[in-house]
Amino acid sequence: MATNLLFDIAWTHVTSRVRQTLVGMAGVAMGVGFTIMMAGLMQGSQIDFLHQLVDTMPHVTVQDERRAAPTQPAEQDYGAVQISDLANLNSRPGITYPETMMAALRSWLPGDVAPSAKTTAIIDHGGGRVGVTLVGIDPRLEVKVSKLASQMREGQLGDLSRAPNAIIIGEALAEKLGVRAGNSLLVIGGGGTEITASVVGLFRSGLKRIDEGQIYSLMSFAQLMMGQSGVVNELRLRLDEPLAAQRIAAQVEAQTGYKSVSWQEANADLLSTFSVRDFIVLTVMGAMLLTSSFATYNIISTITHEKRQDIAIMKSLGMREYAVRRIFIIEAAIIGAVGILAGWLLGYALCYFWSKITIYNMLTGARVPLQIYYSPMHYIVAGGVSLICCTGAAFFPARKATRVHPVEIIRGAS
């Protein structure tokens, strides 16, 4: 059956019902447009959050611990022996020969590595106590592995070296404690060591748990708080390609024997939440597209009802049932295709206007724009799904209509 003929008939049907056709196209356009906007908004906010996360924390963290207890001599000699409650013979914490290890890693690592001494501490100020994570860093190496230098709001990273017992704290923590750069705080280490430290800078990462719960100092200060001079208990890696972190972490762990945690592993719960959110949003978007196709269903149902006589006559002339059915599928495809094109424009416009909207961030007090991610994939997927929904919606009324027996209609008309 000549496709041109079927297309001509379909085109005639849809163009002779302008209002109905426009309503159908508008339904499809709304579904596609809002789906694109939601996808852009969802992925934009997600990517923005991940960028913040990836910028704020090391891509891979090598810790001075192992995933599993090392194989014991007794296990090697007696395969069936069971061992539990192992005591660590190495009483000194930290990574062994960190400089050598860093040099070895730098020889192949697509990125850089810096040491740190990480411990917990309590800040005692103004009668209040706040527990924090104290990260001792080398400011010259730190710039290679974190965005801390660019996140400074007051002071500079290098100021850590210009004052004794200097610390840098987050803006949120400073606000909580009521301190400013230049003020002094009492820092209490885990072993009870108390040192008065000077706040030489304030940073803002954008992540509340970091801005309120993490402070930075020189390595020597952190080591002093730990009571372990010279100890390095963490190597922090920054990679050229953050998404390669899991693979690199596995390689580093295999090379060093120390537990190496990628940013994905460290935030597995969060990423899992993203997956759930993705699923929910995709379900909602799918429902939107499906709902929008109901307009097409209505139109095709109406046309097939109105055209029962034409269907009968086409069948009586010798057009096959599937060919007549294809006419209505083509009609739905025409409505869908034009609706999708309009939906693409609508989606782009919505994304553009939404990106101009700013939301007040209660944590930072700043107004931040809605992050929109523009991706051709959003347009392709929304368009593709919508087209399938439209043609699918047309299939059932078309099938029902074309099953009609021509004699019944011809007799009825007579």
Partner: protein
């Protein structure tokens, strides 16, 4: 003996249901190539049902329809559609033209559906047909711009477009005035005279009398057969 264009053998059409009803009851009929056959009978006698069976629009409950030597009882619905498209042309009481299409587009419809000739040739043939039926100036008009007689002539042109061997017409003049009736019947007569088989259901005895043969149906069976100038055509009406 003339070549048989269409033959019905023991044709039965029953409507099954709470109360079964037999519309066509064991009809045997042979129609020769180029014959003009009129089927008459009172309302509800089964003449239209017989016509739909002969034109393969409907499937018989029993019996066989043979078109140009081809048995059709074992054909699938799609194969029956192909036979209708290429071997039969239909004209109904109402024109049943597609309202959004022009007269020419309606005439082209079966040719385009068959897809056997080039677009240019189709248009030429379509215009030729409209011209032969006095509709050349109306080729680009839509059905609602035509009179009843003109619409029916367009429907005849459409029935002729694939050059079928058989034209099946169900009361083609039923909705026309006297002048148009005369014109349409004249056209059908000409078609038959040109060598095609024409089978017409009509209530009009005067028109039926102008056919080569008249088959009168009562209660689904052939009650009477009258030949206009027998034995000019030697078609048989067994069972009559």
């Amino acid at each position: 003996m003339s070549e048989i264009a269409l033959q019905a053998v023991g044709l039965v059409k029953r409507i099954e249901g709470a109360v079964s009803h037999t519309l066509v009851n064991g009809i045997d009929l042979a129609v020769a190539r180029g014959e003009f056959l009129a089927i008459t009978g009172p309302s509800g006698s089964g003449k239209s049902s017989l016509l739909y069976l002969l034109g393969l629009l409907d499937a018989p409950s029993d019996g066989e329809v043979i078109i140009c030597g081809q048995k059709t009882s074992n054909l699938s619905e799609s194969e029956r559609a192909d036979v209708r498209l290429t071997r039969c042309g239909f004209v109904f009481q109402f024109h049943f033209l597609l309202p959004e299409f022009t007269a020419l587009d309606n005439v082209l419809l079966p040719m385009r559906a068959a897809g056997k000739i080039a677009e240019k040739e189709m248009r030429e043939r379509g215009l030729e047909l409209l011209d032969s039926l006095g509709l050349k100036d109306h080729a680009n008009k839509r059905p609602n711009q035509l009179s009843g007689g003109q619409r029916q002539r367009v429907a005849i042109a459409r029935a002729l477009s694939n050059r079928p061997e058989i034209i099946v017409a169900d009361e083609p003049t039923g909705a026309l005035d006297t002048a148009s009736t005369e014109q349409v019947f004249g056209i059908l007569r000409d078609i038959a005279d040109s060598g095609r088989t024409v089978i017409v259901v009509t209530h009009d005895p005067a028109l039926a009398a102008r056919a080569d043969r008249r088959v009168h149906i009562v209660d689904g069976t052939i009650a009477d057969v009258t030949a206009r100038h027998a034995p000019a055509r030697e078609a048989t009406a067994a069972g009559a």
